[in-house]
């Protein structure tokens, strides 16, 4: 069993095998994303009842919370990938890390923007410099910083190492974001779903939220596979397996 995992890990670590396996998973992830998204959005925007205080404006939660969760999740994936890349010098790990950055930055931006749109009618303000909002903004800057740092070097291997170290240093922000609403008093409310005593939300509102969260996961996987494949091809453009792929496409 351990051997099988190890083999799979090594196969996924080589761009050539990753290209092949990811190509197989892309349509599956795409379909899962589309189905879950349509069902989740329908249940969330049409079927779920309005909140007693916020009315229909609470429905922004179906984009805001999954996007915010993904902004943390993608970062953790990047930090792990960066660490694996640094320790085992695995090409694919760095590719996963760097192609995730723009996706994570987009999720973070969506979380901040939808939160701001919700904050204006609910709190009475677009923005406040409080712990949760500020730490999430720091996350956006971290994502942008990683992308900028990576592109600042002409030597790819130096760029990968520098970006990976920044990734690992920045991972400390993840628990800070998560616990910001517990460690300090803040304007942002505590977690509705992950809390002691179960979610503070009935199933009719919670189910669409979880479906949307799952669909965002597949969306990330789908985008990551597409982008990482492209990056693998670009980086390995001199090698024979890429030339073979190009030739086979030209024949068609």
């Amino acid at each position: 069993m351990w051997q099988a995992i190890k083999n799979f890990y090594h196969r996924m670590g080589t761009p050539r095998e990753f290209y092949r396996i990811a190509g197989y998973w892309i349509p599956i992830f795409g379909v899962c994303f589309a189905v879950l998204f349509i069902v989740g959005a329908y249940l969330g925007l049409v079927v779920a009842p309005a909140d007693y205080q916020q009315g229909d404006s609470f429905r922004i939660i179906y984009v805001h919370v999954p996007a915010a969760w993904m902004s943390l999740f993608v970062y953790v994936v990047m930090a792990f990938a960066g660490a694996i890349g640094l320790i085992w010098r695995m090409k694919m790990a760095f590719i996963v890390m760097i192609t995730s950055a723009s996706i994570g930055a987009t999720f973070t931006f969506i979380a901040l923007a939808t939160g701001s749109l919700w904050g204006k009618p609910t709190w009475g303000t677009w923005w406040q410099w409080e712990a949760r909002l500020t730490s999430e903004l720091v996350l956006l800057f971290l994502y942008i910083g990683i992308m900028v740092l990576y592109s600042a070097f002409t030597e790819r291997k130096t760029a990968e190492k520098a970006a990976a170290i920044l990734c690992i240093v920045g991972v400390i922000n993840i628990p800070i974001i998560h616990y910001s609403v517990e460690w300090w008093n803040s304007l942002h409310q505590g977690s509705t779903v992950i809390r002691e005593g179960g979610p503070a939300m009935p199933a009719s509102m919670l189910t669409p939220l979880l479906l949307m969260a799952l669909s965002f996961q597949f969306f990330y996987g789908w985008l990551l596979f597409i982008k990482a494949r492209t990056q693998a091809l670009t980086q390995e453009q001199g090698s024979s397996w890429v030339k073979q792929i190009i030739e086979s496409k030209q024949v068609k």
Partner: protein
């Protein structure tokens, strides 16, 4: 793992541990500054008429909201069931402002220790409740403190 990989693993772990300790120390040092608002029980320590700008948060005490003659100013009492603080505010209140709701007020304390707020924000809690079932569920979840307040003040909370 080769010795080289082991070394790199230690370096990565050392970075994580080092950054964690540094961040923990930094955040502990700035604990007071990161808090968004001052608890009502700590308002006593603030001098009346001091020039400092403060944010305070508390429940709008039922029955305490008085609309002023000019129609755009409000005076109300924020409470945490132990301490009460009066707030005076001119301007538009957020939609969620109602009696029993947690509110954040930002302003200065005048010589009578009344907060002259320049900003009033509503704080939403983590509870999401469908409109149809709101009354029954809210009764079950009702905070003991709010219950007491409701008995003392008006029975149903008005919105503004």
């Amino acid at each position: 793992m080769t010795p080289k990989q082991k070394n790199r693993l230690f370096v990565v772990l050392a970075i994580i541990v080092g950054v964690s300790i540094a961040t923990a120390l930094g955040l502990t040092a700035f604990k007071e500054n990161i808090r968004f608002f001052v608890e009502l029980k700590d308002v006593d320590a603030i001098e009346a008429g001091s020039s400092g700008q403060y944010r305070i948060a508390g429940i709008v005490k039922p029955g305490s909201v008085k609309k002023q003659a000019d129609n755009i100013s409000y005076q109300f009492v924020l409470t945490d069931c132990k301490a009460d603080v009066s707030v005076f505010y001119t301007g538009q209140l957020p939609d969620l402002f109602r009696e029993g709701q947690t509110i954040v007020a930002n302003g200065k304390f005048d010589t009578n220790k009344i907060m002259q707020a320049s900003e009033v924000l509503a704080k939403h809690d983590e509870n999401y409740v469908p409109s149809e079932t709101a009354s029954t569920i809210m009764e079950q979840q009702a905070n003991v403190c709010i219950d007491q307040l409701n008995k003392a003040g008006t029975a149903d909370s008005k919105t503004y």
